[in-house]
Symmetry: C2
């Protein structure tokens, strides 16, 4: 409750439009009396040798200590000798599952109605191993690594999530007809976990067929779990069904119960500082963070305020066809609390 | 012209519904007086040691000799010790580019209007290398191989195709932000070829973003070229936009000017032999084969007959919501010639 000691959470406002949309979250949380105290961390301007990236050691320590955080978009500065900020966060914090709920926003029309999907992406290995070599001139290879440990871990998370959220089915997405060993191991792990959840239906769907079925009829799916790159692709496809990455939340789950929610859209430098950005993805991400903290009442009231504001249609940012400023849209959400 | 010596072409009717839809093509070609003589080859019932698969050596020789063929669906028999039929054909005939035109069928409504896309997929390497290892227990790897030679070859084909078909833009689809060496080499090759085609616009799009844009607005794209697995995924996604794999043609281009057109849908054993199958994908594939042979008048008249029959809506197979038999639909097409 708001009377007790506040929960400390790390906030990475990020770059570009990041600070503006983070401000929107802070205001909505304050108005909703969410018992959270933010520890704000910006991306550094120099490479921190302890993280080998522009992320400061302090900011990572902050997430490790608080075990919960919210992250705006971070553009990786161009140049050599450092790692992508997003990938560094995933690796350093061992953020093994990326959960992206994707649902139609009432009143915001796209080609699809009633989309309600959850993509759960393995977030640490697969095609993102970073292992690449030139074999001979003109011949290069990338290694896709699948481990039993990481596959079991994300499968376990997916079934746990499905059960906790009253979902009916988990679909494992793969290309094991071609990558029999790697995707085959992934499926084997999913099957092992599925056996422990007889109340949840389990199926396996080849990725190409999955994409075709998703665009034909997304209602065929419920919770989807998959290796890293397939998750990258399918979560963006799903976001497209309901309007794009500006509208979909995301939350990364790490070892030891860490949850780092994030807006996965870009930092949109062209509109940064102009009070034009749509804070919806970061706000909905902050809601997933609240649910992770079991602050369900606050989560519910903020989510409803966001959805009702969009549904009403009077205050919408330019990307949704409206003409509201970020601050006007934020105020409208607060008025709907 | 139909008076001169007929062109010999290989026909793989394939399994399941394959023979019925192949029969449909044969009848339409006959009615349209296409100067083609088919050499029919069925998949063998035993492994041919020369192909290490159920494909007979004679059938491969037939395609090599004729340099043009049409293929129905082939289900790979279950069991060890042999290779997938589709993959064997690609490897043995060096079918390096898979071209999948995808356009809205007039009168057949989906969520998308006026789709008009061409996916060109590298068809011999990438994630389909077949190189996989167990590193230690519980850790497996798959190798994605990208070569300069295969990348240049498919890029060259894509730009050549774009120019020959009056297309404006080629988009190279990649994930070079993660696989810098492999997808990086693929992009480098595309850029080299793009320089030789100043009249064709060139852009590079990350695969996740491409999928999101495709479902939001497919009109953003024109010709897409990409490594093997991305092509597998995106061509199915595109097919989904216009109704599915039952409606989209495909043609494989091999070294030495080989063209093997194919229906990429499954063999649908559940409806095989029941005169229920939709021959559209195989018929439209046969049209791409005719265009490859520069039989443009025949191609045009058959394509129009197919599209007009579907548009009219009186004769449609069950998968398109109608109740026509395969033979009735075929007869309607012939009547529209
Ligand atoms: C920016 C990029 C490295 C990243 C990814 O590929 O994971 C992004 O697409 C995402 O989904 O978070
Ligand atoms: C059946 C399968 C091996 C094949 C592929 O992955 O290439 C299919 O999906 C295709 O697109 O032709």
């Amino acid at each position: 409750s708001s009377a007790s000691t506040p929960i400390r959470a790390t906030l990475f406002p990020g770059d570009g439009i990041g600070p503006e949309i983070a401000e929107s979250v802070k205001q909505v949380f304050q108005a909703a009396e969410v018992p959270i105290e933010w520890e704000e961390h910006y991306v550094g301007t120099e490479i921190d040798p302890r993280t080998q990236s522009f992320l400061t050691w302090e900011s990572l320590e902050s997430v490790r200590r608080n075990r919960v955080g919210l992250k705006g978009p971070m553009a990786t500065p161009i140049g050599k000798g450092h790692r992508s900020l997003n990938l560094t966060l995933r690796k350093e914090l061992n953020l093994y599952a990326n959960v992206r709920p994707c649902y139609s926003l009432p009143g915001y029309k796209t080609r699809y109605d009633n989309v309600d999907l959850i993509t759960i992406r393995e977030n640490t290995e697969g095609e993102y191993s970073g292992l690449e070599h030139q074999v001979v001139r003109g011949v290069v290879e990338s290694l896709k690594i699948i481990t039993r440990q990481a596959s079991l871990r994300v499968a376990e998370y997916a079934f746990h999530y499905a059960k906790a959220h009253g979902r009916e089915r988990v679909s494992a997405i793969h290309k094991a007809n071609i990558m029999q060993k790697t995707d085959g191991l992934f499926l084997k792990c999913c099957r092992e976990v599925a056996e422990k959840y007889p109340e949840i239906q389990y199926e396996e769907v080849v990725i190409d067929n999955c994409c075709m079925m998703l665009v034909k009829n997304p209602a065929l799916f419920d919770v989807l779990v998959m290796p890293n790159l397939y998750g990258d692709i399918i979560s963006d496809l799903c976001a497209g069904l309901i309007g794009g990455l500006g509208l979909t939340p995301s939350c990364n789950i790490g070892e030891g119960g860490i949850a780092l929610a994030e807006a996965v859209h870009g930092s949109a430098p062209d509109i940064a500082g102009k009070n034009l950005a749509n804070p919806t993805a970061l706000l909905l991400s902050s809601v997933t963070m609240l649910r992770h903290l079991d602050l369900h009442d606050k989560a519910e009231s903020i989510q409803n305020a966001i959805l009702n504001t969009i549904a009403e249609g009077k205050y919408r940012t330019a990307d949704l066809g409206g003409s509201s400023k970020t601050t006007e849209f934020t105020k409208a959400i607060i008025d709907h609390l």
